[in-house]
């Protein structure tokens, strides 16, 4: 399983290296022996990707290591769910602002994360509202920073 993972990682790195290298060829200042210019750093990265990608790929074939899987199917589902929730949170902040989106998202996440453990709905609601308000007070009033007000209210 780990071997396959390494093969995928190696292949992705090689492709990434080639893409980065091709992109750097469009830069206006060329690399010369007397002045490497702005291409040098990304080219070093591209070279690193290709060499390391090949190294990881070949090593995984030679060593044939057996390891545990990174995440189970259920685990991947959980990860994707959280990413979608966060994407919703960003959209929520854009539309409704921090003060509305944050307690809602906190409640959803605490409910999701609390599966299998003992926690009450009342406790989660209290935590969500209090945390959102405390963060708001600290950032806005204590440190004078601004938080999203939302398209609906601006």
């Amino acid at each position: 399983m780990k071997g396959k993972r390494d093969q995928i990682t190696g292949a992705v790195l090689v492709i990434l290296g080639i893409v980065v290298f091709l992109m750097t060829t469009t830069f206006s200042i060329p690399v010369t022996s007397s002045y490497p210019g702005p291409r040098m750093l990304p080219d070093i990265a591209a070279f690193g990707f290709v060499v390391c990608g090949l190294g990881i790929f070949i090593e995984s074939i030679v060593n044939k290591k057996e390891g545990t899987s990174y995440l189970t199917k259920e685990g991947w589902l959980k990860v994707v769910t959280v990413f979608l929730i966060i994407a919703g949170y960003i959209a929520g902040m854009l539309v409704a602002g921090y003060l509305i989106a944050t307690p809602v998202i906190l409640y959803i996440m605490t409910t999701l994360f609390a599966k299998g453990s003992s926690s009450t709905t009342k406790g989660r609601i209290m935590f969500s509202v209090l945390t959102a308000v405390i963060i708001y007070l600290i950032y806005v009033y204590a440190f004078g920073l601004t938080l999203p007000s939302g398209l609906l209210f601006s």
Binding site: S28, I86, Y139
Partner: protein, 497 residues
């Protein structure tokens, strides 16, 4: 140095700064104590809060978070057998067995006093040494600075767990991220795709919190939070150590302090390595090495003195050369730049007061933490009982609020989400994060010095004709190939056997 004393004292006794220091220390301690979190994460998450502060308050706040995180890491090691962070791995070896034998109070007390000794004296020594090293650094040119950055990155590769290729790949990702935006000197637009948000480069906050913070939390959730074992609080009674016991450990403390300070000073290394080296040295030097791993106090002294001594050690190259000693100092360099403090030899001339304030804050935090820990010994187990289902959603929200505050734009929140995906993919591929952090932060310094060096001489050979640069380049190259060299040596050794 004495001319800065009024400023330093003024900053440290200001009620606002005192409150900030107390708050940041407690937050740092909590982040350090809870397995999965760390002082580094605390610095990342709360860095945007300092944007509205003056330089003095920002320094006090960030340093207190860092020192708190380093000093709190032993709590999880002693009470749970799970290190709060990599800096306290070796503390587990003897701290947890002591707890199991009913000596948790004594193990915690050793951790507290050892952390204090390491933190306080390394800060004093750091303050005395850094100006001298900065004076030497005036003689360094772009060749040496490039080589120093190169060594800092490669040293992390040399100790990368797993294989060299993965460490190098991670460093390459950091360099690629550092390339985004306008290039130094030539102002060539790179990987910007006509997007105005990318023109200034990728912000440190979104890249690091996304990859290091958000991704880790989501990954933990995907893997399923393991419930932490219960802690026996009955054995926590009083400090349980005497001055005589501290005197007995004098040689061990001195040796571990030297190791911590030295490793902390080396670019790219830090407390994650120093605690293991100091522990091994203490074991090797002990007359009763068989007691190690079974609840021997010497092991805790060695680990905790060395990991905290690395704080002062790491601050010397950070302030004198602008080169980070570890990932947290790399972050601090970035954060202080926002406040107009360009670390390096000139900082002593331009903002010497703030630099010495940094060292003074470390020393004061050392004392403050000792007091807090001594008073709150019975509260430690409660820190470890904070439910993950409350803590992690809270941290996710703070992460995205930090991304917003960083640029007052939700675009950066979206970018952070993308970096969290990259963090998950890196973790899937087994790529370590430390090389990425260092190469991302050092990338611009590395590049601008490289380009300056070429502008001056028009040749790469100068990197090897200037003695200091040549030595550093050779060390860097050896570090890159050290895993291969080590494997070959081991094979040769086994064949000879």
């Amino acid at each position: 140095m004495t001319e800065f004393l009024p400023y330093i004292i003024g900053q440290l006794i200001s009620p606002f700064n005192l409150m900030l220091m107390m708050l940041a220390t407690i937050v740092g301690l909590i982040f350090g104590a809870i397995p999965g979190l760390s002082g580094t994460l605390a610095v990342m998450l709360f860095m945007p809060l300092t944007y509205s502060m003056n330089a003095g308050s920002a320094v006090i706040f960030l340093i207190a978070l860092w020192v708190g995180g380093c000093s709190g890491a032993f709590i999880g090691s002693v009470l749970l057998g799970i290190p709060g962070s990599a800096s306290s791995v070796a503390t587990c070896f003897d701290g947890y067995p002591m707890s199991q034998k009913g000596e948790a109070g004594k193990a915690l007390a050793i951790g507290m006093v050892a952390s204090f000794i390491g933190t306080f004296f390394s800060a004093v020594l750091g303050a005395l040494l850094s100006q001298k090293i900065a004076n030497i650094a005036f003689a360094l040119g772009p060749w040496e600075y490039f080589s120093l950055c190169f060594v800092a990155i490669t040293m992390v590769l040399a100790i990368s767990k797993g294989n060299m290729f993965k460490g190098l790949a991670s460093a390459s990702i950091g360099l690629l991220f550092a390339s985004v935006g306008f290039s130094p000197i030539d102002a060539e637009s790179r990987f910007v795709f006509d997007n105005m948000y990318l023109m200034g480069g990728l912000g440190m906050t979104i890249v690091l919190i996304g990859i290091f913070g958000v991704a880790r939390i989501i990954e933990e959730y995907g893997k399923g939070f393991g419930a932490l074992p219960d802690v026996d609080t009955k054995s926590i009674k009083g400090l349980g150590i005497t001055l005589g016991e501290i005197r007995e450990q004098f040689v061990n403390i001195l040796r571990s302090f030297g190791i911590g300070l030295g490793i902390g000073f080396l670019p790219g290394m830090g407390s994650g390595l120093s605690n293991l080296v100091a522990y091994s040295s203490a074991k090797n030097a002990s007359k009763t090495p068989e007691k190690f791993g079974k609840g021997c106090p010497d092991g805790i002294w060695a680990s905790e003195v060395s990991n905290n001594a690395a704080i002062g050690g790491a601050m010397i190259p950070m302030s004198a050369l602008g080169i980070p000693g570890d990932s947290t100092t790399a972050l601090l360099i970035g954060a202080l730049t926002i406040h107009g403090l360009e670390m390096g030899p000139m900082v002593f001339k331009n903002s010497g007061n703030v630099v010495y304030l940094m060292f003074a804050t470390v020393a004061v935090c050392g004392v403050l933490i000792l007091i807090l820990q001594a008073l709150g010994m019975r509260v430690f187990p409660l820190i470890l009982k904070v439910p993950y289902h409350y803590m992690y959603p809270g941290l996710i929200v703070i992460s995205f609020v930090s991304a917003y505050v960083d640029s007052s734009s939700l675009y950066k929140c979206g970018m952070m989400l993308i970096f969290a995906v990259i963090g998950i993919l890196m973790s899937y591929g087994g790529l370590p994060t430390a090389p990425l952090i260092l190469s991302f932060i050092l990338g611009p310094t590395l590049e601008s010095n490289m380009l300056k060096a070429f502008q001056y001489t028009g040749s790469a050979a100068t990197f090897f004709t200037r003695p200091i640069s040549c030595v550093l380049m050779i060390i860097g190259i050896l570090c890159v190939f050290s895993p291969v060299i080590r494997t070959l040596m081991e094979r040769l050794h086994n064949k000879q056997k």
